[in-house]
């Protein structure tokens, strides 16, 4: 019994997000008289979660480096815009390639500037955010026609495809993150870059690889967003980075990075956030109250996961 209590105490922090998820689901099911457990409702949540999960799986790599990535809204906007623009020049199928390439380039720029110039990666990511939104917004604004997804892709926005992408991503990236050199070395760099270097880890190479992974997953996620939206405007992707950050932290991901990161934080965090929003909407809560609650939970989560030992090493 004592062993169990000791185990529970030590790992409470780790299991709290999952417990919170179960708690939220049960709570809203009760409060809404089962409305939230309606099959359609659950399907909606699952569908909405796919894009966030895919993006989060990539971002957890850069997050474990200790990088809070504030560029996501710019990346989504710019990649989506370039992708749809490419369909006009090169035909509809160019969209996929263009979006992924654009997303990868953006992330590598962040990584590259951080490595070459030593500028804090959070700041660089802000810069990319402004740049992405600015460029896309400017050109979109000067266009007379809107930018729509080519109709040949209309069939692609389907639940099955999105679920498939999400599930495959979860499996592949869990393995890469927890069981390969890439994941472990990224976490080591996040824990203590000096020690990592001293241990023979090629910090530059692995940082860039982490950003590459993030870029690929952001590209896939942007593609999913574009398919879901049917068209893009200057506001596409707005707030994505904040929502993403909120979700990952609520799921237990630590802002300081390091070896404590777990990939299930992404899935748990996304689901927790969406169930919370969904539940509160079904109950008819005032939108401002929803924001307030999300803020409180975010604050609590950051407090619990922030590792003082990891602080000096934030890149």
């Amino acid at each position: 019994m004592k062993k169990f209590v000791g185990f529970a105490k030590r790992n409470l922090k780790d299991y709290l997000p999952i417990l919170a998820l179960i708690f939220v689901i049960v709570l809203f099911a009760i409060l809404s008289n089962g409305q939230t457990l309606n099959t359609n409702n659950i399907k909606q949540i699952m569908l909405q979660s796919c894009t966030y999960i895919v993006a989060g799986l990539g971002i957890i790599f850069t997050m474990s480096l200790g990088n809070m990535d504030m560029s996501l809204d710019g990346i989504v906007c710019l990649s989506a815009f370039l992708g749809l623009q490419a369909t006009e020049q090169f035909g509809p199928w160019a969209m996929f390639g263009m979006i992924i390439v654009a997303a990868i380039m953006c992330e590598l720029v962040i990584g590259g500037i951080n490595i070459l110039l030593g500028i804090n990666s959070v700041i660089v990511s802000f810069a990319v955010s402004f740049f992405g939104k600015g460029v896309a917004g400017y050109i979109i604004g000067n266009r007379s026609t809107g930018l729509s997804v080519p109709s040949v892709f209309n069939g692609l926005y389907s639940k099955t495809l999105f679920y498939a992408i999400a599930i495959v991503s979860i499996i592949v990236l869990s393995v890469v993150f927890h069981y390969t050199k890439l994941g472990k070395r990224t976490m080591a760099i996040g824990s203590n870059p000096t020690a990592a270097k001293a241990a023979g880890i090629n910090v530059t190479k692995f940082k860039l690889l982490a950003y590459l992974v993030a870029g690929i997953m952001m590209g896939i996620a942007t593609t999913m967003i574009v398919l879901r939206s049917g068209a893009i405007g200057a506001t596409t992707g707005a707030g994505f980075h904040i929502t993403m950050l909120l979700m990952m932290v609520i799921g237990g991901a630590s802002l300081t990075g390091g070896t404590k990161e777990k990939i299930y934080s992404v899935v748990v965090g996304v689901l927790l956030f969406l169930c919370l929003e969904n539940g509160l909407t079904v109950l008819g809560a005032d939108p401002n109250v929803i924001g307030l609650i999300e803020g409180i939970i975010f604050l609590a989560s950051v407090t619990l996961t922030f590792d003082r030992d990891g602080v000096p090493y934030i890149l």
Binding site: K9, R10, L12, K13, L16, A20, F23, L27, L31, Q35, T36, N38, N40, N41, Q44, L47, Q48, T51, G137, I140, G141, N142, T145, G146, L147, S148, S151, I225, R228, S229, G230, A231, I232, G233, A234, T235, T236, G237, A238, G239, E277, N278, L280, T281, V282, L283, G284, A285, D286, P287, N288, V289, G291, L292, I293, I296, I297, A300, T303, L304
Partner: protein
């Protein structure tokens, strides 16, 4: 140390539980309650219910909804197509039987409609029409599209220019916003085209869509400094206190101002002497939109095909107008409960005529 952390956790969880319980308890008083579940539920998606137009729209909608026995659930704060689609999905889960939306991304209207079609419920647009050809074709051909209500931005723009010409202005200064907001874009295109047609000189400054009042005033000052012969200014969007600040800024100068939206103290604005025209009052738009949607939801649509309705702006050009406006519009008094029911029963032509009659005079007449 571990103990502290556990206490913190428990506190956080307890806090959250209380908030949720309180929130659940608020169901009855919040405007979006599902407690009185006898009437139909409409999901309303709007950019915000806190700013000038948003708050007025909410007041109007809440009053009319109460008259009709309709429950409203609001979703705000979404600024891209993906989030608005999520809003629609969440509202459907919450039991919405009709969606009233002010769409942010014009070309995604067909996507929004598809989400509604999947759930077999109708969708109605407010404050917007559909510009993108593909989206327009799709929506107009759909059984679940109730229609759209929008303002004639072009005519309003022309009226603003004419008013300034009336006041004797010869050189215009346009304080514009960057493109991205379809409504504001149409206003700006409207007066620029008209000014070009009439061969009138104008100078333009462009501010961001989120510019603060200070930034707007700075932009105006720079425009005036660069072109001192400007004697008439048009403001395409006066939100965030921009118009109040510019009115103060222009005091004492011999420059006339017309603007969209309203300052906090409208009467004082006109008394100052620079302001000569305000274009506002669009909060009637969602009311007409909701009535149109309500008809559709009750299988008594005003027309067999989606309706394309034009809503009027309210123009104010004098201190008396301002006084009238403040008297009539601090609460929503334009239509009584009985009149709302009449609007529901009207056929399409009568409804359109009624909408055409909407003006400051009409409302102040009613209130006498």
């Amino acid at each position: 140390m571990k103990m502290k952390k556990i206490i913190r956790t428990i506190l956080a969880v307890v806090m959250v539980m209380c908030m949720l319980a309180a929130c659940g308890g608020n169901k009855a008083s919040s405007s979006g309650s599902t407690a009185s579940a006898d009437g139909p539920t409409i999901g309303v998606i709007i950019w915000s219910t806190d700013d000038g137009l948003g708050a007025d729209a909410k007041t109007a909608l809440d009053t009319v909804a109460a008259d009709l026995g309709v429950n409203l659930i609001y979703r705000t704060g979404s600024f891209d197509a993906d989030s608005q689609t999520t809003d629609i999905e969440n509202l459907i889960s919450a039991g919405a039987e009709g969606i009233l939306i002010c769409p942010i991304v014009d070309a995604s209207n067909d996507e929004y409609l598809k989400t509604c079609e999947d759930a077999d419920i109708p969708m109605q647009l407010m404050f917007r029409n559909i510009v993108d050809q593909d989206a327009y074709d799709y929506c107009m051909a759909s059984d679940q599209f109730a229609g759209y209500v929008s303002e004639d931005e072009q005519s309003a723009a022309v009226a603003m220019v004419d008013k300034l010409l009336e006041e004797g202005c010869t050189t215009f200064g346009l304080v514009d916003r960057e493109s991205g907001n379809a409504v504001i874009d149409r206003r700006q295109t409207g007066y620029k085209e008209y000014l070009d047609e009439k061969n009138i000189t104008y100078y333009e400054t462009i501010t961001t869509n989120t510019a603060t009042a200070t930034e707007m005033v700075d932009a105006t000052d720079q425009l005036l400094a660069a072109n001192p012969d400007i004697d008439g200014i048009i403001l395409s969007s006066g939100s965030n206190g921009a118009i109040d600040a510019i009115i103060t800024d222009l005091e004492g100068k011999d420059i006339k101002l017309t603007s969209f939206d309203t300052p906090a103290d409208i009467k004082a604005g006109f008394e100052g002497g620079n302001l000569c025209m305000l274009t506002t009052g669009a909060q009637i738009d969602p009311v007409y939109a909701m009535i149109n949607l309500y008809n559709k939801m009750n299988d008594a649509p005003k027309a067999d095909t989606p309706t394309e309705l034009d809503s009027n702006y309210i123009y104010m050009t004098s201190v008396e107008d301002a006084q009238n406006y403040e008297k009539c519009f601090s609460e929503f008094n334009t239509y009584t409960a009985d009149e709302v029911k009449e609007l529901v029963d009207m056929d399409l032509d009568a409804f359109k005529t009624e909408m055409k009659n909407y003006s400051l005079e009409m409302v102040s007449e009613k209130m006498k």
